[in-house]
């Protein structure tokens, strides 16, 4: 059966995910070493050790994401995070930075290394480079590949692959995006945040709701309509064509979330080892619901049964969903 890797932003979410059938949970320390460095989220050292013990007692694994890029002149914070994850009994650490991978491989040879999606290893050469240089055992694939391309990659590599199947969707190659820091000064790579809430402002202007990120207007919605969170790449913008006519719309991506449920059998056939659910910032109730649904889906796929069709429609709560880059037409 494919491994189901589930998000845990808090100890409560970790317990909920394990209870709901997660094979593995991923989480991070409460500092800028991980790419979901949000206020009130993540684990201190004691909580991490307790979380690992709780999961292990119930047969689930814990993967610790240390997937931002260490700051020059201050790499110690990241080195300590790797050491502490190992000491807490983590089953693997999820890393993105070459220097941190080299450090972990040298100083913690017994610690299993996964390559974060933030490393954006998008072809067999990159994956084999990480595998040979650092002994990486699993690669989380960037969301720029089709299912056929994933299958082709798996034929050329010896390590496991993990892919996202549900939740928030980056439309850019992950770990290679500075849109957020261009608008706010804070980036996924350096600060573990994208379009951070600290820089979001909502206002009512001439009967419309406006959502800004820093100084930049990202969404304008009619009063009373649901105003989406102003994630930069899901914003509504204007672009003049060659004749000077403005084209207005979601130039990069609609405010949709990823749902690849019906592709699970194809991903299994493509040789994917693990399926990942995005959402460490989500509530434990959401996590429990999604994990339960996906556990049923991977079990069905394992038995060659069709995917439970209506299972996840209610989880996207009316928001549009997409299969993203997994379908070639998305490009």
């Amino acid at each position: 059966m494919m491994e189901l890797v589930c998000p845990a932003g808090t100890p409560a979410a970790l317990r909920a995910a394990v209870e709901a059938g997660a094979h593995a949970v991923y989480c991070g320390f409460n500092d800028e070493t991980n790419a979901r460095n949000f206020p009130g989220l993540n684990f201190n050292r004691e909580e991490m050790a307790e979380g690992v013990a709780h999961a292990h007692a119930r047969g689930a694994k814990v993967l610790v994401a240390i997937n931002t890029f260490p700051r020059a002149g201050d790499q110690g914070l990241w080195h300590r995070a790797v050491a502490d994850a190992g000491a807490a009994g983590a089953d693997a650490v999820i890393l993105a930075d070459i220097g941190l991978l080299a450090h972990a491989a040298e100083k913690h040879p017994g610690l299993r290394l996964h390559l974060s999606v933030q490393a954006a290893a998008a072809n067999p050469d990159a994956i084999n480079l990480y595998a040979e240089s650092f002994g990486v055992k699993r690669v989380v694939l960037p969301r720029v590949l089709t299912v056929d391309e994933i299958a082709a990659i798996n034929r050329e590599i010896d390590v496991e692959t993990e892919v996202f199947v549900f939740g928030g969707l980056c439309v850019m190659a992950e770990g290679r995006c500075a849109l957020s820091s261009y608008a706010t000064g804070k980036s996924p790579n350096m600060n573990g945040v994208c379009s951070p809430a600290s820089h979001v402002a909502y206002a009512e202007v001439n009967g419309a709701q406006e959502a800004r990120l820093g100084e930049f207007l990202i969404h304008r919605t009619p009063k009373g309509a649901t105003a989406p969170y102003p994630t930069l790449c899901k914003g509504c913008f204007s672009s003049p064509d060659a004749k000077g006519n403005d084209q207005v719309g979601h130039i990069f991506e609609d405010p949709a979330s990823l749902d690849a449920t019906h592709l699970i059998p194809a991903l299994q056939k493509a040789g994917v080892s693990a399926l990942k659910i995005e959402g460490r910032q989500r509530s434990r109730a959401y996590v429990a619901q999604v994990v339960r649904a996906f556990r049923a889906a991977v079990e069905a796929a394992d038995r060659g049964l069709p995917m439970p069709e209506s299972l996840l429609a209610k989880l996207t709560e009316g928001q549009a969903s997409t299969t993203g880059a997994y379908a070639k037409i998305w490009r």
């Binding site: 002149g73 050469d125 969301r143």
Partner: protein, 301 residues
């Protein structure tokens, strides 16, 4: 400190490229990186220009390297990377996987699309044979200084993105094609219509971003005009200038003049850049660890 001209990001015609590199040969830049780093579909349309441009630049005493793509996914693109290595020039790695195509022990350069954020990564690349690294554009001066110091100890020249619309993101999806209701595979090369990228504005009319095929660029033109003295002090080996239309040779000459003069010439350089690039907005926020779009100095207004 000297000047490097990076690879052109845009889809220009062979005639325009030929004229651009002929002009560049006459400028006081030390080195040039040439090649396609944004979209592999473009390369067949202009690759015949590369040998002539390389010869002209080398004849003018410039060091020349050839860039890899910034995002390599297709088999054809991996094959293209082998072809680059066969050219016999230093390869500038802009997708880490290009390293697998460079024979062990062969010196190479590292471009701004590779995540070199810290000394650990720089040292690992140095051990693999990196001799020159252009840092990612979002790095602040504090990190640049630490990396320039580590680089000088390891024999790696450190470069900084100093002029041009900064590359902010790369995607599997082509936004130029999407804007014309096409998919990437049937794009009909619409990106050729926008030789400096296609404008993206906010709904209240603020200039924001620029799309260039699968790449998203800052709309404002980065300039390190106000940081030249600080970068020199930090031990940075070269400023990287990224090609744009207009009188780019004059832009390069303006930077060269600033390098040769004493500190405090930032305002004069920005004024000259505004004259050479009418309508352009400028920024240097990344270098100061601030909002990337922002600009320091009296010229900020």
């Amino acid at each position: 400190m000297d000047l490097t001209v990076g690879p052109n990001a845009f889809f220009w015609t062979p005639d325009n490229l030929r004229a651009f590199y002929a002009g560049l040969a006459e400028t006081p830049v030390a080195r040039v990186v040439i090649g396609e780093w944004v979209c592999s579909k473009r390369l067949p349309f202009w690759q015949d220009e590369i040998p002539g441009a390389v010869a002209a630049l080398q004849a003018a005493g410039k060091e020349v390297a050839v860039t890899s793509l910034a995002l390599i996914t297709l088999k054809r693109e991996r094959k293209q990377t082998d072809d680059l290595v066969a050219m016999g020039l230093p390869v500038e790695v802009n997708d880490l996987s290009a390293l697998r195509h460079i024979p062990e022990g062969t010196p190479f350069w590292v471009g701004p699309m590779v995540n070199v954020y810290n000394e650990g990564t720089l040292m690992w690349l140095a051990r693999r044979g990196a001799t020159r690294v252009c840092l990612p554009p979002e790095l602040p001066l504090s990190a640049i200084a630490a990396l320039a110091k580590a680089g000088s100890e390891a024999g790696v020249a450190v470069e900084v993105w100093a002029h041009g619309r900064a590359p902010l993101a790369i995607s599997g999806r082509c936004y130029h094609a999407r804007l014309t209701d096409r998919a990437k595979d049937s794009c009909q090369f619409v990106c050729a219509d926008d030789p400096d990228g296609r404008d993206v504005d906010t709904l209240d009319g603020r200039a924001f971003l620029s799309v260039n095929g699968v790449q998203t660029l800052a709309r404002a033109v980065t300039t390190a005009a106000h940081q030249i003295a600080a970068l020199r002090e930090a031990g940075v080996a070269a400023l990287r200038l990224s090609p744009h239309t207009g009188n780019f040779a004059a832009v390069a000459a303006a930077y060269a003049e600033s390098l040769g003069s004493s500190a405090g010439q930032g305002e004069a350089l920005v004024a000259e850049l505004k004259r050479l690039m009418p309508g352009a907005e400028f920024c240097d926020g990344f270098l100061r660890g601030e909002v990337g779009r922002s600009l320091s100095g009296a010229s900020a207004a």
